[in-house]
């Protein structure tokens, strides 16, 4: 009974680690998706930009450009003022509006390279500003977290399987005489095996519940922490994150429970 309790707690802690990795993955993946959907390129020209200029019309025909919009000098000024917030008074020190008009292109991120190549050879364009570096770094972070998630998933799977199969073997050993008696009384193998499967799945599921509860509190406090000082981070809805994490952890706990029992049974049969 005591060793069963320890198995539940240790598996719970392992599942908790997995829950943290899954929630990090969900959050960063969401951030990248939001940023990708807002992938924009700002195009500046030496000439005064006229909204009905032919080259601006040409921009809309570039493969991968979703939308073309002229941002006037005034709008550029207002945008910067909004970003600076209370610090916007610094702009008042300029006698003239320091911002120039530019063209804002909404693009498909997959076609970003092609769009930039086309823009670079257009004579009307003097400079291009893109957020390629930021997106690239975010993508690298997601790749890193995905890689870590897979590693941790494998580690969690193996550890849970070993711990559970060992517990099942111990239980079978503990009840070996009764199992022999039932076998000799003609009990089918499934009748003998089912209680051990129920035990294994139940233990793993309880571990999953413990991990989910732990993850619930950690996610809740992380959201509170992040949304206070850095409110512009595009986080997915907290309830959704918790639901997805709970669904993954509880399903995986049942799957690992079944696999752990099967492994325990197979190792006992081989002996």
């Amino acid at each position: 009974m005591f060793s069963n309790g320890l198995t539940i707690v240790s598996n719970g802690l392992i599942f908790f680690l997995l829950a943290l990795v899954i929630s990090s993955f969900i959050i960063t993946e969401h951030m990248v998706q939001i940023l990708e959907s807002e992938a924009e390129v700002s195009v500046y020209s030496k000439m005064e930009i006229q909204e009905d200029a032919a080259w601006i019309e040409d921009l809309t025909r570039i493969n991968g450009v979703r939308d073309v919009r002229l941002v006037s000098e005034e709008e550029a000024y207002e945008r910067m003022a909004a970003i600076l917030g209370e610090e916007a008074q610094v702009l008042q020190y300029f006698q003239e509006n320091p911002f120039s008009a530019f063209i804002e292109l909404s693009i498909d991120l997959q076609n970003m390279e092609m769009v930039l190549d086309t823009l670079e050879i257009m004579p009307e364009i003097s400079s291009i500003r893109d957020n390629r570096d930021v997106l690239g770094k975010l993508r690298d972070i997601v790749k890193g977290i995905t890689f870590m998630s897979v590693l941790i998933l494998i580690a969690v799977g193996m550890t849970t399987l070993v711990v559970l199969s060992h517990t099942i073997r111990q239980s079978i050993y503990h009840y070996r005489e009764q199992i022999t008696t039932l076998t000799l009384l003609g009990a089918p193998m499934r009748f003998i095996a089912i209680p051990f499967y129920i035990l294994g799945i139940w233990m793993s599921f309880v571990s999953g519940i413990i991990a989910t509860l732990g993850a619930f509190f950690v996610i809740q406090s992380s959201y509170r922490f992040m949304m206070g000082p850095i409110p512009f981070i595009p986080l997915p809805p907290m309830t959704e994150t918790i639901q997805v994490v709970a669904m993954y952890i509880l399903s995986l706990s049942v799957i690992f429970g079944i696999l752990g029992c099967m492994l325990g049974m197979v190792s006992v049969k081989k002996q």
Partner: protein, 220 residues
């Protein structure tokens, strides 16, 4: 019922528990396996139950080859009533629950298993212990629960390992009589015993004398 040809059993340690032998036991026979400790009596019973695998020759029990598939052997066990030397009752359960457990896996028993289990316990003289936990029973009472569990299965073959061991003479005679009476229902009963003084006068039975793995069959 049981047919053995060149049957032999050698344990992985090299101990020859049963030396090559041929014999046949017919349906409804009462068979006593007698011999000193270590003579191979329990090993032979284990071969009949399929809990030990023969290493040479062939053995057929209730038409099933004991070298065949485990699934078929398991099905064949539904027709065997095993009685173990150490009873092998399930702890923390009542006498009645233990007897009912003997019926749980038998598709050929369709009646009310609680009623026939109670009846079997009454038949072995345990009407007052039906609801008692087996952990509170004496050796003799536990042995009788084990016999009731085997009998209630309406088996074609009863395999009893020392059913009179550790019992006083009165209880031993009572249990032997219970088992011998099963001949009337055409059940084959095979039992090992040290208590040769209790079976000296038994007639119409088979006696397999065993010594150091060798056997000699005698019909009286």
């Amino acid at each position: 019922m049981i047919r053995a040809q060149e049957l032999a059993l050698t344990y992985p340690t090299g101990t020859k528990a049963i030396l090559p032998c041929d014999f046949e036991i017919k349906s409804g026979e009462l068979v006593f396996l007698i011999g000193p400790s270590g003579s191979g009596k329990t090993s032979l019973l284990k071969l009949f139950m399929g809990s030990e695998l023969l290493t040479e020759g062939s053995l057929e029990v209730l038409g099933q080859s004991m070298t065949g598939s485990q699934r078929n052997i398991q099905k064949m066990r539904q027709w065997i009533g095993p009685i173990f030397q150490d009873f092998r009752l399930i702890p923390n359960k009542s006498s009645l629950e233990n007897v009912m457990l003997g019926l749980r896996f038998l598709p050929h028993i369709q009646q009310d298993i609680k009623a026939i289990s109670e009846e079997a316990l009454i038949r072995v003289g345990l009407s007052h212990k039906i609801k008692s936990h087996v952990d509170t029973l004496s050796w003799g009472e536990s042995q009788r629960v084990a016999i009731a569990r085997a009998m209630v299965r309406e088996p074609k073959l009863i395999l009893a390992d020392e059913p009179t061991g550790n019992l006083d003479k009165e209880n031993a005679v009572h249990i032997l009589k219970l088992l011998m009476d099963l001949r009337d229902s055409d059940t084959t009963v095979i039992l090992t015993t040290h208590a040769t003084h209790l079976i000296e006068d038994v007639k119409n039975a088979v006696f397999i004398h065993m010594n150091q793995g060798q056997m000699f069959l005698e019909r009286r």
